[in-house]
């Protein structure tokens, strides 16, 4: 296995693990962590692909993704805290005020 392939597979693994956590974990914080994994998968790809690409676009893009991740985490935790105050839980499945009323 050469280096590029290895890095790509690692990226796929991270992305899919993130996806798996998003779909299976019940706790919103766990979901948030899954999302972080997906973002890291993208970062890994960008850095790896930047190895064979002129310029530093990949790394700079990764840098901005990290900034975006910080913002998302900050906003996410804030929203989560507010929801927790109302519901005393962070399990989205237990929020039952909004659903189809037929």
């Amino acid at each position: 296995m050469n280096k590029t392939d290895l890095l790509f597979y690692l990226g796929v693994f991270l992305f899919c693990s993130g996806l798996l956590m998003v779909f299976t974990k019940k706790n919103a914080i766990m979901i948030l962590m899954g999302i972080e994994l997906m973002l890291n998968a993208a970062n890994l790809n960008l850095v790896a692909f930047n190895q064979s690409t002129p310029g530093l676009d990949g790394q700079l893009f990764a840098l901005f993704i990290i900034i975006v991740a910080v913002c998302e985490a900050a906003v996410g935790i804030a929203i989560l805290l507010k929801a927790y105050r109302f519901y005393q839980t962070v399990v989205p499945d237990q929020f039952r005020d909004l659903h189809e009323k037929l």
Binding site: L32, N43, N45, T53, D57, I65, F86, P92, K101
Partner: protein
């Protein structure tokens, strides 16, 4: 290019982004005044209104705008971006008008400004980095805005929107990283980008494009990424819903247009982009309309209706031709008017009581006819019947679809044509529900309704705009026809 030249060009570029500079500056001003005048929210209300109005001026006076690349081709000003900017700024102004002088925190106005700023940047973006940042500015601000009712529901809606949205963004970012590997550049309008895509038409390209488009379909609430819409619409404050159902949706559509045109490679792409978009469009129209049928909460119903409306906007894009896209833009502009009309009336009724079920609107039209009449016009426009511009918009996009069929003889276009038009009948069922309750049902005893000259004026303006654009669509269409796409 030397560093000095680059710095010079940055300095030059600043002259083209006045609206964005004004918005950014006003965000700072709103933030500081919010801290100074803590209890006087109308100060920031007035300030942000002025900012949005002032930001319109540079857009309007530079119209028509020759395409100019800014900041090393990160952004580009052209007629396309300018037209959408006008829509976003008007959308922001209308949102403030609907909210009225209701006591809202300075942060509310700040976030509205941030969404408008993000939308303006998004339509100008020519580089995936800018796309991502502008999109996040819209998304994160809107997740927070949804929570601004500060009750259980809105906290839940906000969290759900956040979780769905960030997952969609993460998927999109992963797609972007793959595309970067394939194309070697992030500048999606540049010729190296197009060239590499032409050379490597691999399955991975399709996968990455689909992952990227997912992010924007999410913003537009198109099927299958519409699941957040009903909950968020129900939970968020009504004025915010009006805002979120228009500005991010149109921004998403604008970028979708640019990206799909880019991915389509002037018709040389081996992938069936028109067919794929047509499939999303059919699904959105069907799912949106059929789900809306069974709703009793007006806001949930409008959420599904907005899913269907996204489907209609995509109809124009299906043709992947300049004309079809012009009509999609026309549809978007009309959608802004009709959606704001409907939500303006809903906000007006909300002041008199709960609007969580159509039942609570019973007979209000018999007590005060004008708001109910405006609602009727809004609903008729959303259905796409004359004499409103909603009809013209539908007529035009379906005309483009038919023309496109005559050129390609693709059966899925005919399917979309028939599904789209026949769905008008389905949609009538639920669009008519609200006027039906307003006019035909009797009001419960003791219900009174205060008429408000200000909101009547707002409704009147929107109603007249909708009818005027039906009688004379040439005016708006003339502006839109200027838009070209130089990739």
């Amino acid at each position: 290019m030397g560093l000095n030249n680059q710095l010079d060009s940055i300095y030059e570029s600043l002259g083209y982004v006045w609206p964005e500079l004004i918005l950014t500056f006003s965000i700072l001003v709103v933030l500081t005044t919010g801290l100074i005048f803590k209890e006087k929210s109308h100060v920031t209300f007035v300030l942000s209104g002025i900012a949005l109005a002032v930001a319109l001026i540079p857009v309007l006076i530079t119209w028509p705008q020759q395409p100019v690349s800014l900041f090393s081709n990160m952004l580009r000003v052209d007629d396309f971006a300018a037209f959408f900017k006008v829509l976003f700024l008007i959308g922001g102004l209308l949102t403030l008008t609907i909210t009225g002088k209701k006591k809202e925190a300075a942060e509310f106005h700040l976030l509205i400004l941030a969404v408008v700023l993000g939308a303006c940047l998004l339509v100008m973006s020519m580089n995936f980095v800018m796309v991502l940042l502008a999109l996040e500015l819209i998304s994160l601000s809107s997740y927070l805005l949804v929570g601004f009712s500060f009750d259980r529901k809105s906290a839940e809606g906000s969290l759900k929107y956040f979780l769905f949205g960030t997952v969609a963004t993460a998927v999109m970012i992963y797609g972007l990283s793959l595309l970067y590997g394939l194309a070697g550049t992030l500048d999606f309008s540049s010729s190296p980008f197009i060239d590499s895509l032409m050379r490597t038409q691999s399955p991975l390209l399709l996968v990455s494009c689909l992952l990227i488009l997912a992010g924007f379909l999410f913003k537009m609430a198109a099927v299958p990424l519409h699941l957040w819409a009903p909950d968020v619409y129900e939970a968020a404050p009504t004025a915010v819903v009006a805002f979120l159902s228009v500005v991010p949706k149109l921004a998403g559509m604008a970028v979708l247009i640019k990206l799909v045109l880019s991915f389509y490679l002037f018709g040389q792409s081996v992938y069936l982009w028109p067919e794929m978009i047509a499939a999303v469009s059919i699904a959105s129209i069907l799912v949106g309309n059929l789900s809306a049928l069974v709703q009793t909460n007006p806001k949930r119903m409008l959420a599904y209706s907005s899913v269907a409306q996204s489907g209609f906007m995509l109809v124009g894009l299906t043709t992947l031709q300049l004309e079809g896209i012009h009509f999609a833009i026309f549809y978007g502009a009309i959608f802004l008017l009709m959606n704001f009309l409907v939500f303006a009336v809903l906000t007006y009724y909300e002041k008199h009581g709960d609007i969580n079920s159509v039942n609570s609107l019973s007979g209000l039209g018999r007590l005060s006819w004008f708001p109910a009449f405006s609602m009727l016009i809004g609903m008729v426009a959303l259905t796409g019947l004359p004499p409103t511009a909603g009809f013209t918009a539908k007529l035009l996009i379906f005309s483009s679809l038919w023309s496109s069929y005559q050129e390609t003889h693709s059966m899925i276009l005919i399917a979309l044509f028939l599904v789209g038009l026949l769905n008008t009948v389905v949609s009538l069922f639920f669009y008519l529900k609200i006027p039906y309750f307003l006019f035909i049902k009797e009001a419960p005893v003791g219900v009174t309704i205060k008429s408000s000259g200000f909101s009547n004026l707002l409704h009147l303006v929107l109603v007249i705009a909708l009818i005027y654009l039906f009688l004379q669509p040439d005016l708006l269409m003339g502006w839109i026809n200027r838009i070209t796409f130089v990739l």
